[in-house]
Amino acid sequence: MSLRSRPTPAFLAWPYLVGIVLLVVIPVGGTLYLAFTEYFGIEAPTFIGLDNFGRMLASDRFWTALGNSSIYVLIAVPLRVAGAVGLALLLHTRSAGSSAARTAVFLPTVVPDVAYALLWLYIFNPLFGPLTLGLEAVGISSPEWLVDPATARFSVALMSAFQIGEGFVIALAVRRSIPNHLYESAAVDGASPWFTLSRVTLPLMLPVLALLALRDVIISFQANFVPALIVTEGGPRLATFFLPLYVYREGFRYGRLGYAAAVTLTMFVITAVVVVIQYRLARRWRLV
């Protein structure tokens, strides 16, 4: 008697594959096609070649949004990776209160984006926001977080620096995987905490930190949409006018869906180029 044939992995994967096709492949294909058309959502799209890209490169708004997004990534990614790793190093031990603290670190990540944005709108409030009041209570004059163009971009990056639950969990797992006898050996050898951190802990965590940074670049190019829409509405004076908001305005406020698709495609290519460069560097430094 033969054994009943078991379902093959490919068979088991098909619900997932259907999801991927419906939710990713078809929209990506659609975007790719629409990027080369003029399409307002009413009549059928008309093919216009590279016209959308020409218009985009000539648009001041596009360059402003790209500049803002790049600055945002440069601020947010180091802040987020450093936050995730720093907190993981502080909270990796099993001590009193540390598991509550770990939960607290993860919590902002599971708050819905819109609720999270509204919460920060309150925190940043220049009159009664806790951040302003707290700083003034200790005698520091609070910057006008969302009002001043110079601080607004940083404020949005600061908001993102608390939604680091996934990176935190990964960093925590990596730190815990470093055998304790390495630290005991360093202690007997007379290594200071800083020497141990810089020569043992961080080098051993580096490959994963490099991957975390790669992942964060991808996320950060996109993740500022909700705060930019709800908290700052792209302002003040376009300081938080990021690429995703630009795409949204062009596509859904002005109905230029073909043009919005071209900007989306450009965003994708820029992200891919940055990630490839990072990956190459990480490979050269033997980090991954």
């Binding site: 006898h181 005991e184 050996s185 202690a187 007997v188 007379g190 290594a191 020569r199 051993l204």
Partner: protein
Amino acid sequence: MSVAVRGLRKIYSEPHRNGPPVVALGGVNLEGHPGELLVVVGPSGSGKSTLLRCIAGLEKPDSGSVFIASRDVTSVRPGDRDVAMVFQEYALYPHVSVSGNISFGLRARKVAPIEIAKRVASTAELLGLGDLLHRKPPELSGGERQRVALARAIVRHPQAFLLDEPLSNLDAELRARTRADIRSLQRDLGKTMIYVTHDQVEAMTMGDRVAVLRSGNLEQIGTPIDIYDRPANTFVGSFFGSPPMNMFPASISPDHSRAATLGVRPEDVTIGGHDFAKLIGEVTLVETIGAEAIVHVTADHGRFLIKAPRDAAPTLTDRVGLNFNNRSVHAFDAEGRRM
């Protein structure tokens, strides 16, 4: 420089949540003399590693003191005790070259780079690591890693060395060779070495003196010959020797009122005829090991293991007489203490 502990107690309160507290060390007094290789031996759970970790400063004793070179270091940080430790798992930094591993402690103490280079070179030379200095630990064999771990300890020129089962991850042949290497290295360096092992062969062959630990208590300390010839109790008697000492119950006072245990080593028993034999038993197993055989004999008093020349070994199911010289008999009282 001497290494000593006085009244060292260590209790682990929560080994498995809500479990009873475990006494890892129950007030141990011990001293490793200057230039001596003191082997601390005992079965797993005897507290020998905890003892070493307390000396190194990696565990804080609940009471008692640790002295290194007559200085009370009980509350001194591990790095300021001037001891070097070799870990069972070697604790090499996998991302750092052999040379970087050896120099780690010197760099941590901000020794001048020229001095570091000089010391690393001479230590690598001493341990035959000269060709491996640029390799990383994952590219090394077990024996090479072990030597790097030793080099890292030696290069610091510490007052004393602490070794925690350093050979347990090596195969038998390499273990025997490294045993001899460490012994002669320690003699050359002339520094105190506390060497923890569960292996009685390592204890007997390496130690100037041997300290036997069981359940957190020091059972006996002495030269290997002392320990073998005059075990302080039944535990020490049966822990050393392979096969272990034969133990059998006896009563030793004229009126048979005092219960005792007698012990006789397998090599001290001879097999012969029934006449004049002290005990008679049946041969249940003969294990031949090269020139020797271990003969298992079941007698009225229990099972005996006897070492005999292969040619003189009886065959299975023979009934044989067992004899031994009274002077080779170890007598222990009802509590198992030597009488």
